[in-house]
């Protein structure tokens, strides 16, 4: 059972990690908790659903092409939405008190959630069953489904790509510089607005991919998943050290594993209490998260 729970945990954890990246990148660059990020993830899931059941993508294309088109188009659509949200609700507040930006983010979150409810209805929506090939593998005593492999492969590829992009390219260096200090970055010739826009393309894009993968995995989606998964993903970002990209990946996977082990060995009803307890203990003894660096106190 241990290995099986580990695989389940890694699958859920990979979804958390993809969503957590959006939180951590926005926080790293803007020091803002983007409460609307979970709802962007949820909208990605709904957009994917609409594309899959539409006649154009769903029935005209072969399955593999339909899946790729769904993931790519949802990611692009949500990235556009992310940029719009930043422009409308966060940019005017960049210089003001941080709490006002938090409240603005909450407003956006309520807006997006209700927009989704009005467009797709208040009931659960189900991804079409034919979208996932019914493949299973047995390794020893462990069963692994097609979706678990797909989620792990896609998310690891995306995370590795993002890591290389941020660490090894000039644009990546500009992102890191902006995260350290906006004004100095601007003096170095970096267009900070452009970098922030880029962050709001990458984060929501990854979130939308996670949303489609989650929809395919659990089949059912609801307009409130943005809150529940958003909270978990945010916890994952804190667990790994917020503002730290590898931290979000490690935090997400770790959170997924802890949750599934907690569900398997303690009890399913108490697993979230277990997860938050570990988070609080970690923050008491290591307030910067697992991989976070200690930031000097400003006097």
């Amino acid at each position: 059972m241990f290995i099986e729970q580990l695989v389940n945990g890694l699958t859920v954890g990979a979804v958390y990690a993809l969503v957590a990246l959006g939180y951590t990148m926005v926080y790293g660059v803007m020091r803002l908790i983007n409460f609307a990020h979970g709802d962007l993830f949820m909208l990605g899931s709904y957009l994917g659903f609409t594309l899959l059941v539409s006649t154009f993508v769903g029935s005209a294309l072969p399955l593999w092409a339909a899946l790729i088109v769904t993931v790519v188009v949802s990611a692009m659509g949500i990235a556009v939405l992310g940029v719009l949200v930043e422009r409308a609700a966060y940019r005017p507040l960049r210089r003001s008190n941080r709490l006002t930006a938090v409240v603005s983010a909450m407003g956006v979150s309520i807006f997006l959630q209700n927009a989704a409810m009005l467009i797709w209805g208040p009931r659960y929506r189900a991804y079409p069953p034919w979208a996932v090939p019914d493949l299973r593998w047995e390794i020893g005593a462990v069963h692994i489904g097609f979706m678990q492999v797909l989620i792990l492969v896609v998310s690891i590829l995306l995370m590795a790509g993002l890591y290389l992009f941020v660490q090894c390219t000039t644009v990546g260096a500009a992102i890191r510089a902006t995260a350290i200090d906006h004004d100095t970055a601007r003096l170095m010739g970096i267009d900070v607005d452009q970098i922030i826009r880029l962050i709001f393309i990458i984060g929501p894009g990854l979130g939308a991919v996670a949303g489609v993968l989650l929809g395919l995995y659990y089949r059912q989606i609801h307009f409130t998943v943005g809150w529940s998964y958003g909270l978990k993903a945010f916890t994952a970002a804190i667990l790994g050290g917020i503002g730290n990209i590898p931290g979000a990946m490690v935090g997400g996977l770790l959170l997924g594993i802890l949750e599934m082990l907690g569900a398997g060995y303690i009890s399913a009803a108490w697993k979230d209490v277990f997860v938050f307890l570990i988070l609080i203990l970690l923050l008491i003894f290591r307030p910067t998260g697992l991989l976070g660096e200690r930031v000097a106190e400003k006097v």
């Binding site: 909450m106 407003g107 959630q113 209700n114 009005l118 909270l231 917020i242």
Partner: protein, 345 residues
């Protein structure tokens, strides 16, 4: 930053703010500026209000009052001291459940449970905050969110058969005064708003006391506060304990009003609404809390004609409000004076 409320010429209270001890704020500021007549008029209007409107609107006003009490309790923590507490519903839940359990099992009078729930929730606040009070800003925020979720899920899981799980507990007892049972919306209206008036009076006094000034000093600059000899840790713990206690006492009224107490009243979403009440009203501003909770609770009721679109408008309005009036609906004068000085330097 443009300040709408302070025109040209020396603003009231500015001379005092130079000496570091800022001007008066809150209700007393209102009294000073618009004379006691305005307060009297508001009080009379509040007394007459339930006699001229339907029970539905009295109920809306009752829940408004409950959220004003909760907002006041969170304002101590978020507004006065600047601690980010986004899990305040946890203490409200502890108060409500303490009331429902003790009243159901031991038949203790609700008048006794009102302070008792406050003490239990305050103790819980002290015990839970003690290990985490040193955390800063966003870290404290996520830990309080975690506490909120832990307590809600624990209530849901019905430990030792105490909380009744997802169905909750039914309250059988009610408040009684000289044989009058407080049951009708109108009775609750007077009970709740009397509590609001009493709390506001006490909190304004507290705000202007040595403790209140120490809290504001910590909010503005923690390091400077420590250098001035303020015991930052105890001051923060005191704020957390008091805020939790007031929320817990409010829980008794809430339990009596709702009759059925279940975990779904204490979700993270509700904590976020409370947080928004404090920031929307204006951090650290006591009249701001009243306006902020009106905006968060009464406005959606008025918008009910738009039925399903109301929350959509509401979300957009929250974002717009923060963009065009970031200092809140009724900013505390201490707060604006500080901003203005920063600008003139």
């Amino acid at each position: 930053m443009a300040l709408l409320r302070l025109g040209p010429g020396p603003a009231p209270g500015r001379r005092r703010s130079v000496s570091g001890v800022s001007g008066v704020s809150g209700v007393s500021g209102l009294v000073g500026r618009y004379s006691a007549w305005a307060v009297g008029a508001v009080a009379v209007a509040a007394m007459v209000f339930p006699m001229v409107v339907s029970d539905y609107w009295i109920d809306v006003a009752v829940f408004w009052g409950i959220y004003v009490l909760l907002g006041l309790s969170l304002n101590i923590i978020v507004g006065e001291v600047g601690l980010f507490d986004m899990g305040h519903m946890a203490f409200f839940a502890i108060g409500s459940y303490t009331t429902a359990i003790l009243s159901g099992r031991f038949g203790i009078s609700l008048w006794l449970l009102l302070p008792l729930s406050g003490i239990v929730a305050g103790l819980a606040g002290y015990v839970l905050a003690r290990p985490i009070i040193h955390l800063r800003g966003d870290y404290l925020l996520i830990v309080t969110i975690g506490l909120n979720e832990m307590i809600r899920i624990s209530l849901l899981n019905n430990p030792w058969g105490l909380t009744g799980g997802p169905n909750g507990i039914i309250m059988l007892d009610q408040f009684r005064i000289f044989g009058l049972v407080i049951q009708k919306p109108m009775h609750f209206y007077y009970l709740v708003w009397a509590c609001v008036a009493a709390s506001m009076f006490a909190l304004v006094r507290l705000q202007r006391s040595r403790i209140g000034r120490a809290w504001n000093c910590i909010r503005e600059d923690e390091v400077a506060a420590e250098a001035m000899g303020i015991d930052v840790r105890s001051a923060k713990l005191l704020a957390f304990t008091l805020g939790a206690g007031l929320a817990g006492a409010t829980g008794t009224i809430f339990a009596a009003k709702l009759v059925v107490i279940s975990p779904e009243s204490f979700t993270f979403m509700e904590s976020v609404i409370l947080f928004c009440i404090v920031v929307l009203g204006g951090m650290g501003s006591i009249p701001g809390v009243v306006l902020g909770s009106a905006a968060m609770l009464v406005l959606p009721e008025i918008l009910r004609n738009f039925a399903q679109y109301r929350m959509l408008f509401f979300g957009a309005a929250m974002a717009l409000m923060m963009i065009f009036r970031p200092q809140g609906l009724w900013p505390s004068k201490r707060w604006t004076t500080k901003l203005q000085e920063g600008e003139s330097e």
